[in-house]
């Protein structure tokens, strides 16, 4: 049965993580999860908004909630953990009456803040189950060794996110296993990659993300699987910076889980956009016997 959700892509889906957005839409379509874009959605304010003013952050989010509430949907879903955290936190803060009134006054429309909000990952795992997805696999990822990297906020804080184990999440592990990949035990599953501090304190990101790459490589992983545009960007786009800073020579492909799922489900290359990855996935994809791709232009 098709389920209809209000889809909040988040700003990065318009640019740096467009391949995440495209592959997410394709995956949802093939699993019977119907996405309806929230019309005229706006930025959730990301870290700068909630770091400076909760009311500002909540107001930016609340406008999107209000639009979604006028749609006939089961809930709101988003691929981006950072957007997810802002949406869910606002929804919780809106339970406080005084705060609720202030926000409604600012956005000049009623906001119920009662729609369920989930990540695309949670929706896929809970509505379709890895076992059911396994039945749709036409090209198993056999031979591909991956480490799942969830990032720090997909499951935390636990009482806000209420999904999977906050210290040892397994949803991506189970999904990747269902797709036929070999999942290696990864100690840095929920470590921080350095996030947006890459702009102001690059050495922090090269250290934190560098450690994630070092461990993945030492475990013999062919690739890292992510579910977060920020993590993916730090590990992929900054991989050369990290190598330079740390004196390493990683060539570790960083996939979105939606790309590997699409591959295993036999989707067309135009739905996966592997060409958008900075570090070439060609060698990793050869492990599954997928057609090798051209080295993408830098």
């Amino acid at each position: 049965m098709t389920r209809q959700y209000a889809y909040y892509p988040g700003c990065s889906a318009m640019g740096s993580s467009i391949e995440y957005d495209i592959s997410t839409r394709a995956l949802c379509k093939s699993l019977g999860v119907e996405l309806v874009d929230i019309p005229d959605w706006n930025c959730c304010g990301s870290t700068p908004a909630h770091a400076s003013d909760h009311l500002l952050s909540a107001s930016l989010v609340a406008r999107n909630l209000a639009i979604a509430e006028s749609m006939d949907v089961e809930g709101i879903i988003t691929p981006c953990p950072s957007c997810l955290k802002n949406l869910k936190t606002t929804s919780l803060r809106m339970q406080r009456k005084g705060f609720h009134e202030k926000v409604e006054h600012i956005v000049e429309r009623p906001v119920r803040a009662d729609l369920p909000i989930r990540s695309v990952l949670q929706t896929v795992i809970e509505h379709c189950s890895p076992e059911a997805i396994a039945e749709h696999v036409s090209k198993p990822l056999k031979g591909l060794k991956v480490v799942p990297y969830y990032g720090c906020i997909m499951n935390r804080p636990p009482d806000v996110m209420t999904f999977d184990d906050p210290e040892n999440p397994t949803s991506l592990d189970r999904l990747m296993q269902a797709l036929g990949a070999e999942v290696l035990p990864f100690p840095h599953k929920v470590d921080c990659c350095g996030a947006s501090l890459g702009l102001v304190r690059r050495e922090l990101v090269t250290r934190l993300s560098g450690r994630i790459l070092d461990t993945a490589a030492s475990l013999g992983a062919d690739a890292i699987v992510t579910a977060c545009p920020m993590c993916q960007m730090n590990l992929d786009l900054r991989q050369n910076q990290i190598n330079r800073a740390n004196g390493t020579q990683h060539r570790m492909p960083i996939f979105y889980y939606t790309q590997l799922a699409g591959l295993a489900l036999g989707q067309h290359e135009s739905c996966l956009r592997m060409d958008k990855l900075c570090v070439s996935p060609a060698r990793a994809l050869q492990q599954v016997g997928a057609p090798a791709q051209e080295e993408p232009a830098r």
Binding site: D165, P166, E167, N168, P185, P187, H188, D191, T215, S218
Partner: protein, 652 residues
């Protein structure tokens, strides 16, 4: 009736927000009140003397004291009346402290309410009658539940005082947690060397009957006369015949049984004697692991047992015992650290609990006293101790401090250096809590003489790396993050209530707190009593305690039992139900509602009638409200007495 009213100031506790003089003045207008005054401290020596003088001077035959809760001083004033020659039940208390002055700030309203409470007390007192206590025989045997160090101490002290003791232990040996420890703080003396002789004393004492592998099934009766059912669990070995030679353990082919004594460090045989100093030193078969009991073939132990003690057909057995007092000494259990995902949630083999580490340190443990990593048997060099695992953490519903973990961690750091001189211990702590004799000196010794590196802060995560672990945490003194490389991580797990504590408390009819620890009678003044007469507490069942405190409580509980048994008869409480036989229609509703089985149906001139067994009745009053005829009345709380109070308050 000539009633005297005394309104207590309780210093400024009451007088601060109640005009006590006005209350006394109001009281003078109540019926039968012949004398009323306010007094500074009614409970003090001059306060009580004032009451006695007034009784004599004004010919008073009933007293109302308006002061604190009757739980505090009812017994005090009843004795005052007895000294003045009055029956102690011609006394009422009006609680104008907890119910008035401590909860209201408006002096006028408080004064009015206090006067009304006094009016109610006077009205009830006018309906009171003299009551006289009976006497009943007591059984001078005592049951101690739990054979840890607290229970052992209580049992030995009672037995040395000439009492017959029934000691009930859930496991197959006494010794409890202390028997599993290697050394004890702050003197680093060997645990089994100091406990072992006490355990032997228990076995050899002529006054002690030991039921090991047994649990209390039910408890009936009351102080002086408890009837206890004890379930002796099937051991599949005839303990009369078993000599504890241990040949069965050598030949048992099922070697993967859970080793409870060694806290799961390694495995043991299906037929097992937990450790060489076990008391009683008898074999027990673990039915889940035994091939004969699960698959129906094997019987290796039965074939070679020199005394033919194996009994595969053995069943649980219920035995009855009669005792006059009960000491609960059921100890504690350790926090389940797998609730902490950041410490691996039980996934990492070399992240172990402090009690498992004790077994590694112990010369009679599974590694013969050599510290070896569970994963590969390698000797660790870098050992990280994490304190407050399941203590002082509201997120896992353990906001309390377990009290002894700081000390045993310091001890383990010292012993680690003794065992492996080139090792380095790192201790993550929140605060060091070492308030005991020689305790703080001991923790300093761990740091200064044994070089343990103490880091003040919590650990955020433990991550496995090639053959070792990275422990990441905060150093809140340096204000920095730290990473420590560890070969072995020891979690200082806190104490929690023993499994099944709540169920036992309900059998004993004692209270327990939100965490399952048993409630003492008073947090300061009755530390080993409970609110159930004849039931006492010792050791960690009341809250986490170290060995010295547990032993002290064992002795304290024993002395309470000795004091109770110093009398041959106990006075019964006359505040029990009684049946007006001419009104009773013999419907037996009271018999079915009484929670204590205190009502018997008897025959009077061919008619069924209810009759109260006064020694069993606890005075709860359930029968009185059940009786459709009003034939059963609870003495001192009769319908007439309570309605008089209501009428005093609501005259219209």
């Amino acid at each position: 009736m000539n009633i005297g009213v005394f309104v207590c100031h309780c210093g400024s506790n009451i007088a601060g927000t109640v005009d006590t003089e006005k209350v006394a003045e109001a009281a003078r207008s109540f019926p039968d009140v012949a004398f009323a005054t306010d007094t500074m401290y009614a409970c003090s020596e001059p306060g009580q003397a004032g009451i006695i003088d007034a009784i004599k001077d004004y010919g008073l035959d009933g007293i109302v004291v308006a002061s604190c809760t009757p739980r505090m001083h009812e017994a005090t004033f009843r004795k005052t009346l007895e000294r003045a020659g009055l029956n102690k039940y011609l006394f009422e208390m009006a609680n104008i402290r907890e119910h008035v002055s401590w909860i209201g700030k408006d002096k006028e309203l408080n004064t009015n309410k206090a006067a009304e409470l006094v009016q109610m007390a006077v009205a009830k007192l006018r309906n009171n009658t003299e009551l006289h206590a009976g006497e009943f025989e007591i059984n001078k045997r005592v049951m101690v539940i739990g054979g840890g160090v607290a229970g052992i101490q209580a049992a030995l002290d009672c037995a040395d005082g000439g009492l017959q003791v029934i000691l009930v232990e859930r496991e197959s040996t006494i010794g409890g947690k202390m028997a599993k420890l290697d050394k004890t703080f702050p003197t680093v003396d060997c645990s089994s060397c100091i406990l072992g002789p006490r355990m032997v004393d228990v076995a050899q004492h002529p006054n002690i009957t030991l039921y090991a592998m047994s649990e209390v099934e039910s408890v009936n009766g009351f102080v002086g006369n408890f009837d206890v059912s004890i379930r002796k669990k099937a051991t599949y070995v005839d303990w009369e015949a078993c000599t504890g030679c241990g040949q069965c353990m050598e030949k048992c082919p099922s070697k993967k049984a859970e080793d409870r004594f060694n806290e799961g460090v390694g495995t043991t045989t299906a037929i097992n004697i937990p450790f060489p100093q076990a008391i009683p030193k008898k074999a027990v078969i673990n039915a889940n692991a035994c091939i004969m009991l699960s698959k129906g073939k094997c019987g290796a132990c039965a074939k070679l047992c020199p005394t033919q003690a194996i009994r595969f057909e053995q069943q649980d057995e219920i035995v009855q015992e009669q005792v006059g007092a009960i000491i609960a000494a059921t100890g504690y259990d350790l926090f389940d650290h797998t609730l902490y995902g950041e410490y691996g949630g039980g996934r990492y083999p070399d992240v172990i609990t402090s009690i498992q580490y004790e077994r590694l340190l112990s010369a009679s443990g599974p590694t013969g006293g050599h510290i070896k990593r569970p994963s590969d048997g390698r000797e660790p060099k870098n050992i990280v101790f994490i304190q407050c695992v399941g203590s002082r953490d509201p997120s896992v519903n353990r906001p309390y401090c377990s009290g002894f973990c700081c000390m045993y961690t310091a001890k383990q750091a010292i012993l680690t250096k003794d065992h492996i001189p080139d090792s380095q211990s790192h201790v993550f702590y929140m605060d060091i809590r070492s308030p005991g004799k020689l305790y703080d000196e001991f923790t300093r010794r761990a740091m200064e003489e044994y070089g343990a590196r103490y880091i003040r802060g919590r650990v955020s995560t433990i991550q496995p790396r090639d053959g070792y672990y990275v422990v990441k945490g905060a150093d809140t003194i340096m204000g920095s993050q730290v990473e420590v490389k560890a070969d072995l991580v020891v979690l200082a797990v806190g104490a929690e209530a023993s499994k099944g504590a709540g169920a036992l408390a309900e059998k004993l009819r004692i209270s327990y707190d939100g965490y399952g620890f048993f409630m003492e009678g008073h947090p300061k003044l009755k530390p080993v009593e409970t609110n159930t007469a004849g039931v006492y507490l010792a050791g960690s069942c009341q809250g986490p305690k170290d060995i010295p405190a547990s032993v002290a409580q064992g002795s304290a509980a024993a002395s309470k039992v000795q004091a109770l048994f110093s009398k041959d008869k106990l006075a019964s409480d006359p505040q029990v139900s009684s049946v007006a036989i001419q009104r009773c229609v013999g419907c037996a509703k009271c018999e079915s509602t009484c929670p204590f089985g205190a009502i018997e149906m008897t025959e009077f001139r061919g008619m069924p009638k209810a009759s109260v067994v006064e020694t069993v009745c606890q005075g709860c009053g359930v029968c009185a409200v059940t009786c459709p005829q009003g034939a059963i009345q609870l003495q001192h709380f009769t319908d007439n007495q309570i309605l008089a109070e209501v009428n005093a308050l609501c005259p219209y």
